[in-house]
Structures are given as C-alpha cells and as structure tokens.
C-alpha cells in the first residue's frame, strides 16, 4: 500500500492540528494551570504520607507534570480523530472513504500519530518546562531513558488510538457515539492514572487498574521516565503496552470488517 501515503496522512494530521493556534495556546494554558493545582495538592498529600505509591515528592510532582504533558498527546480524555470518524459514520460519509484504495484503520492511525506528534511538541514540552522551572522535578539523566520514554509514549498513543477507534466504530450500531464516548472519557480519566497514580489504588482495584489498557497511556510511560522499569523490567513494560496495542488493533480490525460488511450490504 506504500508507506509514503501514510507518511503524508501523518504529516497532514500534524499540520491540521497545527492550524489551530489559539486552541493550542488555550490547551497549553489549561495544562499549566491544572499542573499547578495538582502539584500543590500532591505536595500537601506527600507531606502527610511520604513515599506514597512508591514515589518520593519530586517523583510525584514529575508524575503530575508528565500527566499534563501527555494529556493531549495520548488523548486520555478523548479529543483526537474519533469525533470526526463518528460524524462520518453518522452522516454516511464513511461510504466515500471506503471506495478509496486505502486501509481505513491505518489511515486513521497515521493521522492520529501525526496529531500526537504535534501535541507532544506543542502541548507537552511547554507545560513540562514550566513545571520544571517551578518545582524540583526528577528528570532522567541518561539519554537512554529519554529514548525509552519516547518509545513508551508512542506505544501508549497506539493503545489510546486503538481504544478510541473501537469506541468510534460503535457508532455503526449506536448511531450516536455520545454514550460510548462518555464512558470512554470517564475510563480514560480514571484508569490512565491522570488524577492519581495507579500505584496508589488499593488492593484488587489497583491490580485490575494496572492491568487495563489505559495504564499504558500514562502510568507506564511515567514509570519509564522515572526509571522504575530498567533492564528486563523495561522489556516487560514495552511488552505490556505492545500486547495491548496489538490486541486492540486486531479487535478494531475485526469490528471494522463487520461494520464494513454491514455498510456494503445494508447501506449503513
């Protein structure tokens, strides 16, 4: 099918989001404000309970700012391609997409990776820098850890994409993606560890939360950043993310082929 096509699609995804400068600026501002609010809350919490969840204060603060930096990148609360896809399904425009010689899932994945790359640069770097200026963050010293972090973020974006793709495809049956999107939003908010690190969740809830795919979005990349995974631990972390990515992408393909057959036979 040619990687060049998907490279153009990814570049397009990057540039599309780059055109909305005011929205980007507003996003950076929001991430920074929430970063400060959460950072002060965490400071109070860790003063009471040092080493909570296995993090010291500076690690906990780093976790906060990583969360804000990756919020848009990994689309933890939605806000990627899915609204557009749901709209195309609802209006029937998706039929137009089908006659083009492209793979639907790869097409949207490429676009979403482009979006994520833009948002990592635009909405990730600035809040992280501001956070690092205002608080004593635990930044990795070795370039290897930074590299591992980037790999982990990329895998997290793919997992996030695969989840949102499944949610968006539900519009083929539900005709209104709002309900499914709402559930996905809450799950993303809670199980990605955006509000509280999943290592703080007690007992079985913690076990389950850490095994769910959403933990690949923030918890795993953050722990890679903080150097919690090294050696085989790092391989395991990547395998966890990659496994979920693969399983969910395959599930998406399956649902896509059922949905496509439905459109092709039933006209949507």
């Amino acid at each position: 099918m040619g990687m060049r096509l998907y490279a153009v699609v990814a570049a397009g995804g990057f540039r599309r989001h780059a055109t909305y400068r005011i929205a980007t600026a507003a996003g950076v501002f929001t991430n920074t404000v929430f970063g400060f609010i959460l950072a002060y809350t965490y400071t109070a919490l860790w003063d009471e309970r040092p080493q909570l969840g296995g993090y010291d204060l500076s690690q906990a603060l780093t976790y906060v700012w990583l969360g804000q930096a990756l919020l848009a990148t990994s689309a933890m609360m939605g806000g990627g391609f899915e609204d557009e896809l749901v709209e195309r399904i609802r209006t029937g425009d998706v039929a137009v997409d089908l006659y083009r010689p492209v793979d639907l899932q790869l097409w949207w994945l490429a676009g979403d990776l482009g979006r994520a790359a833009f948002q990592l640069l635009a909405r990730g770097v600035v809040p992280m820098l501001l956070g690092a200026l205002a608080f004593p963050l635990a930044l990795p010293g070795s370039p290897g850890v930074w590299l591992a972090f980037l790999v982990s973020v990329t895998l997290g974006v793919v997992v996030s994409f695969a989840l949102r793709y499944l949610v968006a495809l539900s519009a083929f049956w539900l005709m209104d993606g709002a309900g499914a999107a709402q559930i996905a939003f809450l799950a993303g908010l809670f199980f990605s560890g955006l509000l509280l690190p999943l290592t703080l969740f007690p007992g079985v809830l913690g076990e389950v939360a850490r095994a769910l795919p959403w933990s690949a979005l923030l918890q795993v990349p953050a722990d890679v950043f903080l150097g919690k995974h090294a050696g085989w631990g790092l391989v395991e972390a990547f395998a966890f993310q990659g496994g979920w990515a693969l399983a969910l992408l395959l599930a998406g393909r399956l649902v896509q082929s059922v949905a496509t057959r439905r459109v092709v036979v039933q006209g949507g």
Binding site: V9, T19, G92, R100, P101, V263, V264, G267
Partner: protein
C-alpha cells in the same frame, strides 16, 4: 442499447435493503425495500450519460454499486470488466467519484495538501501528477485557491476542488452525483464546461446524476430515467418528449372574453386555462400547430398567439406522476 460489450454493464441488477422498524418494546417488523429493482444498461467507453430520477429513486444506490461500496443483491454488474464489490480497491484506481454533498478534501488544510494525498493514494507518477494538476488548476480556475484551507472555500470552489481531486489519477470513468447542487450560475457553467471538455478531449466516460435538467440538456446526448428502482427511459434526450406524452401550449389572445375554446375537428386539444380574453390550449407535442391555428382563426376572433415548447422538467414530472399512478 444492449448491444456489444459496454464499458459499464448492468444486467438485472437489484438491491434490496432490509429495513427494521420498531413496533413495540422488543418487537420489530422487517420490511424489504427494493431500492434498485432489476436495472440493465450498457454505457460505452467515452459516453456521457445523464442518470436522473426523483429523490429515493435509486440513483445513488446504483452509483454506490458501481463504485463497489454496495454489493448488489442480484444481477450482474461490471465496470471495465471488473466486478466492483469484489475488487473495490483495484477498481478504485480506474474510477473517479464526486459526491456533490460529501467532500473527500481535508477540511482544515489547504487544497494542495489533499492533492498531495491523492498523489500518494493512487500512486500517480510524478510527471503525470504535475501535468494533471496543472491542467485542472487551469481549467477549473483553482490557481488562487490551492493554498486556501478547504473550510474557507465557497461551495462552488470546493466542488471544483473535489472534481479536480477525482481526476488527478486519470480515471477512465467519472461518476458525478449532483455535481452542481447548490452552485450559483457562474460556477455551474464552469463545471459544465469543464466536464464537456474532459469528455471530448480525454474520452472520459461520465455518468452524471442530477436534479438540474440543464446539466443534462447541456452535457448529455443520452439520458436514463429511473424511478422506484426501475429504468423508465433510456435514450436520446429529445425522445423523452414522446415517451412522456408531452404537450405544447398554444397561448391565444381573443378580442374579448369568451367561453373556453372547443374545436370539433381537434379532439386532442384541451383548453387548460382561461384568463379574460387569453386562453391556453394544450396539444400533443408530436402534432403540428398549423391546422389548429387555422381552425381557431376561422372560428374565433383571434388577435394574437404564441406557441410554447414543453420543458423537460414538465415532461419528467409527468413521467413520474404517471408511474406513481400505476
């Protein structure tokens, strides 16, 4: 029309949708809707054919089957020898599609980016791509628009942009679904002129659905009329008048107000309207007006008269109405 091997061939093509209607809390009723009910036609390479019919007649369903995004429920369908629904991707490289109300362009990016995408999507050789783009830009007047984000284009500009996008990979056949819908007069003229040239110079086969019969009158020598999923007419545009039993109108100005004109010798003539001294008489389009005028002049105090040709819209409206009544 069913002679030789056409470029587009349909034989008894059907499309049946199953519609489920909820009748109770858990109960639902299944009903079959025959959107396309046994259609057959051939289109030769290089033909330009109008495909018309009222809303819900089955036009778009036919186009969707021709592109392969809908599988027929029955019958045989071939485009360039390919079964569209089985080899959708292979066929995609040889066809271009423009849906008037749906865009394939990237909404938030300049037009140019969407063309770059088409370039890669259809793997068009670089030189060929440049040449085609230049040609489209020139003929569709897109030069000033290439760097404008699509969302800022007017409907007419966007439509021209979409038509160009559908042609950059040199498709052998172009399906246009309502290409002039919502466009102003100038944009319509531009689009029509472009399509005429495309067909004449490149020999691109064009199948056009539209509500605007001027499109057909100006572009297509052949027209197919579909209603309730069946082909009602397939032939020259001029022939529609005979099939539709169309009538011409004689507008007569008399010296004074008189009861409706009645001519014993011309039973097929009806007076359809009287307004003071002016009367409107309908007579078969196939007949001659001369004997009729002579009779009226002989029997009534005639001051002035004029003959009005039937317009195609009225013909087709009548055709739909008679099908409805059947």
């Amino acid at each position: 029309m069913a002679t030789g091997t056409g470029f587009i061939e349909l034989d008894g093509v059907e499309k049946v949708f199953e519609v489920r209607r909820r009748t109770g809390f858990l109960r639902s009723e299944r009903r079959e809707v025959r959107a396309v009910d046994g259609i057959g036609f051939r289109v030769e390479r290089g033909e330009m054919v109008g495909y018309i019919g009222p809303n819900g007649a089955g036009k778009s369903t036919t186009i969707k089957m021709l592109t392969g995004i809908l599988t027929p429920s029955g019958g045989r369908l071939r485009v360039a020898g390919i079964d569209p629904s089985r080899e959708r991707t292979r066929l995609a490289h040889r066809i271009g599609v423009v849906f008037g109300q749906r865009t394939t362009l990237w909404w938030d990016l300049p037009l140019r980016d969407s063309y770059r995408l088409v370039h890669r999507m259809y793997r068009v050789p670089d030189a060929r791509f440049r040449e085609n783009l230049e040609r489209c830009v020139e003929l569709l007047d897109l030069g000033a628009l290439l760097d404008v984000p699509v969302r800022q284009l007017s409907l007419g500009q966007r439509m021209r942009g979409d038509i160009a996008a559908a042609l950059l990979h040199d498709p052998e056949v172009l399906y246009l679904d309502e290409p002039t819908i919502g466009l102003d007069v100038v944009s319509k003229a531009k689009v029509r002129g472009f399509l005429r040239d495309l067909n004449a110079e490149r020999g691109t086969t064009v199948l056009l659905t539209t509500h605007d019969l001027t499109d057909i009158e100006q572009l297509c020598r052949r027209v197919m009329v579909i209603d309730h999923g069946r082909l009602m007419y397939d032939g020259a545009l001029a022939g529609l008048h005979e099939v539709g039993e169309s009538e011409r109108t004689l507008v007569v100005d008399l010296e004074r107000e008189l009861p409706p004109i009645r001519l014993e010798s011309e039973p097929s003539v009806r007076t359809v309207k009287v307004e003071g001294p002016r009367q409107w008489l309908a007579f078969p389009a196939s007949g001659s007006a001369a004997p009729l005028v002579a009779r009226i002049a002989a029997e009534y105090p005639l001051v002035d008269l004029s003959v009005r040709e039937p317009d195609i819209e009225a013909v087709i409206a009548k055709m739909y109405a008679s099908a409805e009544a059947r």
